[in-house]
Amino acid sequence: MRRNLAPLVLSLAFAVACGKKEAPAPAAQPGGAHDKTTFVHVTIQDIDSLDPAWAYDTASHAIILNLYEPLVQYRGSSMSELEPLISEKVPSVANGLVSADGRSYSFPIRKGVKFHQGGEVTPEDVRYSLMRFMLYDRNGGPSSLLLEPVTGLASTRDEAGKLIEDVYDKVAAAVTVDGDKVVLKLSKPFAPILTVLASWAPVVSKAYGASVGAWDGSKETWKKHNNPQKTSEGFHSRPDGTGPFMLERWDSKTKEIIMTRFAGYWREPAKLKRVVVKGVDEFQTRKLMLAAGDADSIYADSLAKPLLESIDGVEVIDDLPRIDMNPTIFFVFKIDVQGNPNVGSGKLDGEGIPSDFFSDKDLRLGFAHAFDAEGFIKDVNRGKGTRASGFIPAGLPGHNPSQPNYPFDLQKAEQYFRKAHGGKAWEKGFKFTIAYNSGNQPREVIANMLKRAVESINPKFQIDTRAIQWSTFLDQSNSSKLPMFILGWAPDYPDAHNFAFPFMHSSAKYPQLQHYKNAEADALINSAMREIDPAKREKLYKRVQAIAYEDCPTIFILNAVRYRTQRKWVKGFEYNAVWPDSPYMSPFYTVWKE
């Protein structure tokens, strides 16, 4: 019998030997999570691209703003006060760097700022960076943020997708070098322009760009680099910024990105030597990593908060006000049904949906009334936040608390469904997939709430829900392959225009991929952008929100507050509601571990 126990004893001995405390103590190892100079953030998202002209998602943008630097940045938690970065001063009328008509901004470029790959920033690099950001203009990308106020055009291409010939000349004339300064001329005064530049169009190296297959800065070649494929230029995965951190490695296999302190940084070097952002889909594993100190902060949604509050050495910073619109439910008016498994048969025959399924307003309203937003806020969001009454969140001028929204009413939903597609939708039924990004529990709950409610109205209605990895989710939504999807909008800059435009203007990200257009909304948004009188602007945005309610291209759910979970030893975290992926991510320059 004693001999028979040998395998068990050996196995136990093996396990104990491998796990015994005498194994190298993590705390003593440099570069590990327990090292006070290494910060580990564990999240659910992976990176889409590190190219500042491509990336338009919060996960990528948050990394980019640690690798690259824009001309100016927000001061601490303020959403209105700015401080200089690559520009030596924040332009203002008072310091003479903004013209009296509010159209010309001069940026004196700081000397001695080094790129990670070598070389110093010159005004020409800054000009190149601003121009490249505008002329790159990939479908659904961020270029319009600058292109629109600078040239008055929302895109470098017309509605047929053809390049507008004089765009280059317009951009080149608007961005000029004047000695040590870069001068930016706007087509019309646009008050939020400096806040746009506080997050976007960071400075990249012109020489490096040309060496890694990006645009070389010449008029002859820009067209080849307009709306390129994601990975066609080296900036996608090989960044060269001036930020406090430089890229050590981006491993898409393990969903891990590692940044190291840039020794040649023009300010004091960052306190952290290394920042690791890694993807772990399973919440329990993320939680245990936080508890063990192997993670310094984690992504956790509202449902998880009670599970995190009691962990020793962990703090939960709650009630952080957001000015984002997240989550939201998008309808795609013209779905790409070819080779698309999300639409079943691709016909309105009870086994699928046709391309124009959601172009029917009654159908959209049916879905809108089938979603219990109040229940979501109460049960899923722990009662935190308030019901959204439009796309402009509470806290921003233009927010209209008296704007009506769609009450949860299944009878009303049924009335709309019966009318949809001339009664054919009700008679035949339908089948399609609602998608959300994997690991995001609130969005998963929304998808399932909708599924249950809609399927309960008519047994012929069938909805599948599907989690998709973040970067693939973006690819599929950008190509109009998802009939209905759940996503959110975090502001590019804190202004009503940055909500009205992306949600409602036909040239912007979401309406483009939804194939939604309302001419009146476009005209109102264009007018509001040029309007200087705040009261008149507010009135225009109220009307756009009324149109959003009437047309229902998107369901807005929540004015949110969020919380952040981190180890107590983490210090220096600065919360700014405008920061991408905030409060989970932040500028790591100010962070250290005690």
Binding site: N4, P7, G19, P26, P30, V40, T285, Q338, A467, D475
Partner: protein
């Protein structure tokens, strides 16, 4: 023996041809438009879908398409995985070594403990040991792997901080990506030894303990039961009674019976091993272990057909090879099979 192996190996291309034909046939049930999406790397190409279908002959007869696909597979071109953001062959090379390590490390205790418990159970039929073994088998068989994985993780990582998730720690990550470290095989345990990195070896082993333990517990149940029934059958045979009557020691009798009981055990073991190699998606997801299972689970959710096809092809090939190994082992264990 060599003739036996050669005959079996000669069957291999035929079996693989059958498997690939079946896989390809399944793939052909999708519409040409759906299959065309495999070749589309950019949403803008969707407007020229018909051109893509023509270019790749997606409306050609089955046999033409199959031969063309087979030629591509033979060249190692399995398409591009959107989930892994790399070609499927590259993704397999990237993810498979981690799964091999986990599978081998789990398979050793599965075999040792499974056969030992099964034998013990048979020898002490209906005794306490047998009841305990049955209890272990039933719980192992019925406990969901994610539940067991999370429990083990909570206890051995959350409370005792002994065995962390992932493949290795951040400290080791620096070593692995150092220019001086040679990734000879992609197997961290082996590479760490070949590079003389003992701390890395221990660290990687610590990360493997919990996923390996989870797999061991849930997988060995079947082996225990098969070994037990096979042993019971052998122990009831005449030659065992004769051996005992002639005064042979009980240990020697059990050793004789066990050798004869090996055939079904080998069959089950080869299937289990190939199943492990094919990816253990839930275990890999719970332990954030970057193996092929986690990748293919994400790929399946995202309808990443090239990835699913690639992994299916890999597992089918492994299954064929596993069966071959089992056939060879039969002959080793039972010489009569060679003569048949």
């Amino acid at each position: 023996m060599a003739k036996f192996v050669l005959k079996r190996l000669a069957m291999l291309p035929l079996v693989l041809a059958g498997v690939t034909m079946l896989l390809f046939g399944l793939f052909q049930t999708l519409s040409p438009e759906s299959r065309a999406s495999l070749y589309i790397k950019d949403p803008r190409q969707l407007s020229s879908l018909e051109a893509v279908i023509r270019e790749h002959g997606l409306r050609d007869p089955f046999h033409k398409q199959y031969l063309r696909w087979l030629r591509k597979v033979a060249r190692g071109d399995l398409g591009y995985s959107e989930t892994a953001k790399m070609p499927v062959t590259e993704a397999v090379r990237a993810f498979f070594p981690a799964t091999i390590e986990l599978s081998v490390l789990a398979f050793i205790p599965i075999m040792v403990l499974g056969v030992w418990l099964g034998t013990l159970s048979a020898v002490h039929k209906d005794k306490l040991v047998d009841q305990l073994s049955r209890f272990i088998s039933i719980t192992g068989y019925s406990l969901p792997s994610f539940a067991l994985g999370l429990i083990l993780l909570m206890v051995f990582y959350g409370v005792l901080n002994l065995f962390p998730p992932g493949r290795y720690s951040l400290e080791s990550d620096i070593v692995v990506h150092d220019a001086a470290f040679n990734a000879f095989t992609g197997l961290i345990l082996l590479d760490s030894l070949l590079n003389g990195e003992w701390a890395l070896f221990v660290d990687a082993l610590r990360h493997l303990v919990l996923p390996a333990a989870t797999l061991t517990y849930i997988t060995m149940a079947l082996l225990v039961r098969v070994t037990r029934s096979s042993m019971l059958e052998e122990l009831g045979k005449d030659y065992v009674r004769t051996a005992r009557a002639k005064g042979l020691s009980e240990a020697a009798v059990i050793a004789h019976a066990r050798r004869n009981a090996w055939i079904p055990v080998i069959t089950i073991a080869s299937i289990l091993f190939v199943q492990l190699l094919g990816g253990v998606l839930i275990t890999e997801t719970v332990f954030a272990y970057p193996g092929i299972g986690r990748w293919v689970a994400q790929a399946a959710l995202q309808l990443d057909v090239p990835a699913v096809m690639g992994v299916a092809l890999l597992t089918s090939s492994l299954f064929v090879l596993g069966n071959l190994a089992a056939d060879i082992l039969y002959a080793v264990v039972d010489p009569r099979i060679r003569f048949k």
